[in-house]
């Protein structure tokens, strides 16, 4: 066993970092747990126990928001990963426009969510480009942002367009990290492209998939700004997600209740993401 005195660095050297971490992350986290159990006006906080949580779950729009959050997170996550994988595979296939495509695919990520929302509003409004196209090919115009059936779908499409760049770039990096020799050996053995993809690319890409899955899922669950700017959670509550519910509560000065909403979101993210992450990590270990 290594003697404590033989360690390269003394423990106290970690103190500054730990202090920053505690002040910036740990203290606010526990403070928010406390304030979620209070009626709080930023100045005074009156302890009310679990009342805020009960109120939050009994609000008319919460149920819809929970369902919409799940739909939004899962669908954006799934589509981004599948499309990202296809794009990554295609871009890495040695095509000449590969470098340009990488830039173009990544570009939307550089835009702010509100900018993307404004661009999509222009595209999706009743007389917008999308409807002009639809009517030009003989289809009926759709009220993308004001029809309950399409509002959430519009938000999902905008989020996928915005986020697919990051997913693709991470997966491209993952594909590039796979040794070429595997592909060459498989080709010599006469493996089909699909077989190579399923038996070599995909398994060896699992660490990258795990990363993007975690990022997409967390991002999707706590998504707010793009939806707020695009539909404001409407029409009615049709595109309401937890983030927009919490925003409205903050905006009306219900700080305690809004913080309770944030705590619920935090717990939901933790409950979904951590087990999923450890499951994929186990699968990786099995494969490798």
């Amino acid at each position: 066993m290594k003697n404590r005195n033989q360690k390269t660095y003394p423990l106290w050297m970690g103190a500054p970092g730990l202090l920053v971490y505690v002040v910036i992350f740990i203290v606010p986290t526990f403070a928010s747990f406390y304030f979620s159990t209070t009626i709080w006006n930023l100045k005074d906080a009156v302890f009310v126990g679990p009342e805020n949580f009960i109120t939050f779950f009994t609000m008319t729009n919460t149920r819809t928001a929970l369902i919409n959050t799940a739909i939004f997170a899962l669908s954006t996550c799934a589509v981004k990963i599948v499309l990202g994988l296809l794009l990554a595979r295609y871009v890495c296939s040695g095509i000449r426009s590969g470098k340009y495509l990488k830039i173009v695919i990544f570009f939307p990520y550089l835009l702010g969510n509100v900018v993307v929302a404004l661009a999509f509003r222009a595209l999706l409004e009743p007389a917008g480009t999308v409807n002009q196209f639809l009517t030009a090919i003989g289809l009926e115009a759709v009220h993308w942002l004001t029809d309950k059936r399409f509002a959430l779908l519009s938000c999902i499409i905008a989020d996928i367009w915005k986020g697919i760049g990051t997913v693709t770039i991470i997966l491209i990096a993952g594909i590039c990290a796979i040794p070429k020799t595997y592909f060459e050996a498989a080709a010599i053995d006469g493996a089909s492209p699909w077989g190579i993809f399923r038996r070599i690319t995909l398994p060896l890409l699992l660490p990258s998939v795990n990363t993007v899955l975690t990022l997409c899922l967390i991002g999707g669950l706590r998504s707010y700004d793009l939806i707020q700017a695009l539909t404001g959670g409407g029409p009615g509550y049709s595109s309401e997600v937890l983030g927009t519910v919490i925003y409205k509560l903050f905006a009306r000065g219900s700080y305690g209740l809004a913080t309770a909403g944030n705590v619920i979101l935090f717990v939901a993210v933790a409950l979904i993401v951590f087990p999923l992450n450890s499951f994929i990590a186990r699968r990786e270990a099995e494969i490798l």
Binding site: T60, V104, G128, A251
Partner: protein, 485 residues
């Protein structure tokens, strides 16, 4: 094949980027576009008793005001180099008018004014100020909501008491001071920042003449007019800009005039939980009126896609005949159809009796001084507050934009250049008016706009809507710690 696929992909992605960067001229069709893109200049997403400033778009006319009584700027104001940090959320031409006032004061006294623009979404700006008040970081001068909304900032702790200033009683109207004073201590916290707003029905006079329609004195007569317009023309009887938060609330909130006529203590009783909203038939009629417009198909086809600006344009063009709005629509009209502004008339929201008619008003938002202002800046800030209530400051304002409501300053007359609709609205203010309920009752749930939009599109009946509003308000009241809730 690979090449073609690559080319198609490059094209589609490039097109996406181009779409992202191209300013779509038709984006004005959606109110939220406007609200988000233009800083809420013409639409306003809120009517929380504090939005009279940011919708005022523009006017190409300048005007002379008659000046307030006792408004001579004192000699010897010299604040050379004194820095003042000022925060407001007013944009558009009214924002320019405020800047003209600040510039004029700066020139007069030599002080150095730094302006910080807050979010033009009133809820966001109030939230920002609340946080800054809680952390002792308020700007020297700032724009604030008034009435019950002012309480959010805990004025006794955070806002400078102006009651010791003689000029405030001379220059500011008593009706405004009532809303910005503490009745127990006599403290006065604010001065008006811009003009008041009056809500009612704006109509196209030309279409009314063509169809030989009379100004409706009751809601029944109003519906009759709508029916005639619907059956005899292809025009929209009532253009309904429900994409806009304010547009979705105006008719409903305006109904408070009649509620107040019936029971002047209604807001207090509701605040004290002595009555419920659904107990008042008059209050309920506001929702029934919205429901009438929907069920009888007198409103726009896709009301949630109609913006404030589009409603003004359609009204001016005669594509729509009426709209419920506040007088700030006249500023938008002067932008989108300046030559047709005189074709627009005004009448109050009708109710059951032809003898009882009147309008709901929104008082101007306010300027406040931070209570924690540095001693060396205090005199300069007070001088600026006084200056802003003088005729000289009003002249500077009117040189940039034509006012659409009253300044709430003693002795200030509206210039002759204001439109006839604005003048009619002001006549109603003098004759029969009340401030909207939000000035006397701070309870308003976070989903009010959404619930109203759902009532306006037939998703909720009036009864379901009021039940939802009451539930939503109860949560808000509980969170605000209102006694009895």
């Amino acid at each position: 094949m690979k090449k073609k696929l690559a080319l198609a992909l490059v094209l589609s992605l490039t097109l996406g980027l181009v779409a992202c960067g191209s300013p779509d001229e038709s984006s004005s069709g959606s109110g939220k576009d406007q609200a988000s893109a233009s800083g809420d200049e013409s639409g306003s997403s809120d009517t929380s008793g504090d939005r009279s400033e940011d919708e005022d778009g523009s006017s190409d006319a300048s005007a002379e005001s008659s000046g307030a009584d006792g408004t001579e700027t004192p000699e010897g104001w010299n604040f050379e180099g004194v820095p003042l940090n000022i925060a407001h959320s007013t944009t558009g031409e009214v924002g320019d008018a405020l800047q003209a006032q600040l510039d004029a004061f700066s020139e007069l006294t030599g002080c150095k004014i730094e302006v910080e623009l807050l979010s033009s979404n009133s809820e966001e700006s109030v939230y920002t100020l609340e946080v800054r008040a809680a952390t002792g970081n308020l700007p020297d001068l700032f724009q604030s909501s008034i009435g019950a909304q002012l309480d959010k900032l805990d004025p006794a702790a955070n806002i400078y008491d102006l009651s010791g200033q003689d000029w405030i009683y001379q220059n500011v109207t008593s009706s405004y001071l009532d809303l910005v004073s503490d009745p127990e201590t006599g403290a006065v916290y604010c001065i008006p920042l811009t003009t008041s707003n009056v809500a009612g029905c704006f109509y196209n006079k030309k279409v009314y003449e063509d169809l030989k329609l009379e100004i409706p004195l009751t809601w029944e007569e109003f519906l009759n007019n709508c029916e005639i317009i619907k059956t005899q023309t292809d025009k929209v009887p009532v253009v309904t800009p429900y994409s806009d938060g304010a547009g979705a609330q105006i008719l409903f909130l305006s109904q408070y005039f009649y509620v107040h006529q019936e029971d002047p203590d209604f807001a207090d009783k509701y605040t004290n939980k002595e009555t419920e909203l659904h107990d008042s038939e008059t209050f309920m009629r506001g929702l029934h009126k919205l429901n009438d417009l929907y069920t009888k198909q007198y409103q726009s086809d896709d009301p949630l896609a109609v913006s404030f600006e589009k409603s003004a344009t359609d009204l001016a063009n005669g594509d729509a005949v009426m709209t419920f709005s506040r007088t700030n629509i006249l500023s938008t009209l002067s932008n989108v159809a300046p030559d047709k502004i005189e074709e627009i008339g005004f009448f109050p929201l009708p109710d059951t009796s032809p003898d009882v008619r009147g309008v709901a008003t929104w008082m101007p938002v306010a300027w406040c001084v931070s209570k924690n202002i540095a001693p060396e800046k205090e005199a300069c800030a007070l001088a600026l507050m006084e200056y802003l209530t003088t005729g000289e400051a009003i002249d500077a304002y009117c040189k940039v934009t034509v006012p659409t409501g009253a300044f709430m300053l003693n002795g200030v007359e509206l210039p002759d250049t204001i439109s006839s609709a604005a003048r009619e609205a002001q006549e109603w203010v003098a004759k029969s008016s009340t401030s909207v309920m939000e000035y006397s009752c701070n309870i308003k749930g976070s989903n009010m706009v959404t619930i109203l939009q759902m009532a306006e599109t037939g998703e909720y009946t009036p009864e379901e809507a009021i039940s939802e509003i009451e539930k939503d308000n109860a949560i808000d009241a509980r969170q605000k710690g209102v006694a009895g809730w």
